[in-house]
Symmetry: C2
Subunit: 462 residues, 2 copies
């Protein structure tokens, strides 16, 4: 029987070309201008699931972008793995910072990826990592190595909050019934140090609008005499952190899970070089909440970041104007036990309360989601760990991630099953940034590792 390694050696070129075709479609879910491209991507995913061996594939309509569903049920008595991924991508701007066009994938060698990396928006997040599962399925079905049932659910709104998925899942519990959920939408520490993400941060994303005078004003005639919405917005945002970079929103930390000294010591064992970290970002110093390490700040601690700000004259040259309105997009990363809707409410209440006289403030929640933790004694985690040992030759490290996959908490709530996060990307892959890429080695290693998860999960389920 052909091994996965043999199969990959034989089909490697095609695996890469199929992914490149998928990456050429700009499926930016945040921007309505790409509406048709997002829909076309869903069709392409459907087609590929069919080719890979799914025997029941549908494009499931939702209030937003459709969800591609596919399944292969070989025996109802066997366990079922539900694979989740997303076919939408982040916006590519700032375009001018890309070395090659974001939707014209090219393979280039890098220091981290001597065997080459595919550069394109979505290469790693999440088209590349999602497609590993499609190719792993192709191997298992074509070679009679599929040991259990499999279901695929690939959505198109992950980058904008998965609202339609949250609508879809509760309405399709039977269709989605499973024993474990498998996702590759996270990273690992290094190609020589595989890790499995056991924790995710929650998210609350809001947009704020500060309105002062009813029109833009001449800064000479009115400057100093009326509240300037931009100056006011900067004061309000600045006040959201104190001098120790603690967030000042009343009640914000009330439900934060505080890790024990032991747990923090365990985390501290993960290899990390502050020098390399600073070097890779070209910063002279790190920054953050007092009393925590860098790895703690971006994983077990909640944060508040401005993701965008705008107001007034931003064009060429100078315009002496006081803008009528100023805006900001602000997101908070949350940790287990913080309830995102409650945090959104706390933010809204606080932000409105600190608005000075002379301006009106509007807070509009965008989306959010809960944090999540997988216990490492879960058989899903055990199966993943064994799979990495097979293909990497080392035991993967359990790791808390700073990122958010809000629907993982939703899955647990609605489908009562745990999610295993087998990520094959690297932090340096620049997801959400210009020049996003995914190592060719990582892509193929993922395809190689996934079938072992199915094997061990089926065995451990007996």
């Amino acid at each position: 029987m052909q091994t996965i390694q043999e199969y990959i050696a034989q089909h490697k070129e095609r695996f890469l070309n199929e992914l490149i075709d998928l990456l050429k479609i700009p499926s930016v879910s945040a921007d309505p201008a790409y509406n048709q491209d997002v829909l076309n991507t869903a069709d392409m995913v459907k087609l590929q699931l069919e080719k890979a061996g799914c025997d029941k594939i549908e494009i499931c309509e939702t209030p937003g972008y459709p969800i591609v569903y596919g399944e292969k049920i070989i025996d109802p008595k066997l366990p079922t793995v539900l694979v989740y991924g997303h076919y939408d991508v982040q916006p590519a701007d700032p375009i001018d910072l890309w070395d090659s066009p974001p939707f014209e994938p090219i393979i280039k060698k890098t220091e981290t990826h001597p065997e080459g990396a595919i550069f394109a928006r979505g290469a790693c997040d999440d088209k590349g990592q999602m497609y590993m599962h499609v190719k792993a399925l192709e191997y298992m079905t074509n070679t009679g190595n599929l040991p259990c049932n499999v279901k695929f659910m690939i959505e198109g709104e992950e980058e904008v909050g998965s609202e339609s998925l949250a609508w879809f899942v509760p309405r399709n519990k039977e269709k989605l019934a499973n024993d474990v959920i498998l996702i590759s939408d996270t990273g690992m520490i290094a190609n020589s140090i595989p890790s499995i993400t056991t924790g995710l941060r929650g998210l609350s994303y809001v947009e704020v609008e500060v309105t002062g005078p009813n029109r833009d004003l001449h800064s000479g005639l009115y400057g100093g005499a009326v509240a300037n919405p931009i100056n006011v917005l900067t004061k309000m945002i600045a006040s959201l952190h104190d001098e120790n970079n603690h967030i000042t929103i009343p009640g914000f930390y009330d439900k934060v899970e505080n890790l024990s000294r032991e747990e923090r010591d365990e985390m501290a064992k993960a290899p990390f070089s502050l020098e390399n970290y600073k070097k890779s970002l070209e910063i002279d110093a790190i920054y953050g909440e007092k009393g925590y390490t860098t790895n703690e700040r971006n994983s077990i601690r909640p944060t508040l970041d401005v993701n965008g700000i705008w107001g007034g004259y931003t064009g060429e040259g100078a315009k002496t104007v006081i803008a009528s309105k100023a805006y900001a997009k602000i997101s908070m990363r949350l940790v287990p036990n913080q309830e995102w809707r409650e945090i959104t409410e706390l933010f809204k209440k606080h932000f409105e309360s600190i608005a000075p006289k002379g301006v009106q403030v509007k807070v509009t929640p965008h989306h959010g989601g809960q944090g999540y933790v997988t216990p490492i004694d879960n058989i899903g985690y055990q199966a993943a760990s064994k799979a990495y040992q097979e293909t990497f030759g080392v035991t993967p490290i359990p790791q808390r991630s700073g990122g958010s996959i809000p629907i993982v908490a939703l899955f647990e709530e609605e489908l009562k099953s745990k999610t295993i996060l087998m990520g094959f990307g690297l932090d340096s892959d620049a997801i959400h940034s210009p020049n996003e890429h995914f190592g060719v080695w990582n892509y193929l290693k993922g395809i190689e590792t996934i079938p072992f998860f199915y094997k061990y999960f089926t065995e451990l389920s007996k």
Copy 2:
């Protein structure tokens, strides 16, 4: 001999149509895209000066946009009035807030302007007010009423700092030699309460750039662990004012002219309704430096306002990104005795000094200028005051303006002559804002009043 009133009655329609043609050209000096339009506007001004009776007209080349020069010397022994104005305009954005296209002038009646107002970018600032002088000259030359010599100097970079004018004036002192400089680029209190601007604020305009990590980052993986340039920028800007809205830049107030109680009491006599002020801006409260009234805050006190801010994702929907860079345009209005270059230096030094570790800060000065004061015993002021009495029937009030016309200080320094600011616009004319307009009554009243200035200035010069 035909009076100015008779002449206006006869040519009113043409006066309006000629101005409308001038307003149709988008001479936005701040935006290179309008380069040709700015040049075309200069040509149109030259043509109209010729028609109005100037006997020596030139387009004077400069390092930037040209200066239109015209003169009519009737007798070297008579005094000479130098008229200054500008043919460039502010950018029109935000375009979507205009009720009619900014460069398609239309006349509409308003509450303040029952006889109609011309709505267009530049209607009041400064095409309309500049053109009043061209039409006043036409009357004086066509009817043999020109009592002295006149020179026109109309520039095309006032809205971007008059750099080329600052280059031109010292190189053309003889050509520009005059006894008084006359400018209409300010406003008056109300149509029933004419006022003459006796003070102007200086200006320092800078752009700041804060750079954090070398690329945009995923706010989940890096949030809370690296300095976010937008958060840092808001903290830095917020710190520029203390809780009393005093500016915190060390040395900023050192040279500020402090008015006596008497002078402030005199100012306080100018009619002002706080209720109407708030109503017209639709704000529930005023704002500003503690210990000063609204009229003091926007005239005799220096200020610091953010005119524009931008960074990160500002498009549709949500993007969870930490931007690599954040920017702001910041201007400071200065009062007499503050030296703008020194203030710019103080800002730069201070702003760079408050940057936290983890970011790089760049401060780029845009332009600036000195404040200015005209004593009311100056014969130019006296002539202007008598002119208003002739046509308004009341004595105008001397008034400090919050605006800046940097070149007025330059004129005094280079040409050793005082400037008289005869403004006919109103604060409610929305200059620098959407729906800028200029009252038809004000336009014609300006044309009517200006010849009397020439008459009285010539008499008082004997």
